[in-house]
Assembly symmetry: C2
């Protein structure tokens, strides 16, 4: 879970997720959207893959990346948890 948050902390990696939400893409296509070398993007893809935020599939000489929304559920749950303050103490902010 900590690894997921760390993965999301980088703007390039979040942009990759934004790209993949529209359609699956090869590593090269993804790299073409950035002003960075392919090895750098490959590193970011690997970071995302390790957290299972994305998955890859080899097709011929290409590797196709796609988003995996399963892990997002967990992150969302943490957010919901934080946003539901304890009602006994809620309102103290306004004092």
């Amino acid at each position: 879970m900590n690894e997921v948050f760390k993965a999301l902390a980088d703007p390039t990696r979040r942009q990759i997720l934004d790209l993949l939400k529209n359609r699956d893409m090869t590593a090269g296509e993804i790299a073409d959207h950035f002003h960075m070398t392919k090895p750098t993007i490959s590193h970011h893809l690997n970071t995302l893959k390790k957290t299972e935020l994305i998955q890859d599939e080899k097709r011929g000489q290409y590797i196709i990346y796609s988003i995996n929304t399963t892990v997002f559920q967990d992150v969302m749950n943490w957010f919901f948890g934080v946003m539901q303050s304890n009602p006994i103490h809620k309102g103290e902010n306004e004092k």
Copy 2:
């Protein structure tokens, strides 16, 4: 927005938010929950404050910290955006 994600990337800072979701706390009370020096916690509090994930209020010799859920909305919106894949292309993952 990038600063918010970077702030959330540290486990100690997320734990601070977990503490503050229950009740407001002084800097000292927060620090007592961790095996770290007070300056270190102070630094984390400052990072959270800069992103407006928390706010502080001076009361006498204490400084009371509280959570600010406003910013969480923005982060949540990003997540919702990523999780709604483009329907035209959705389903290609299963191929």
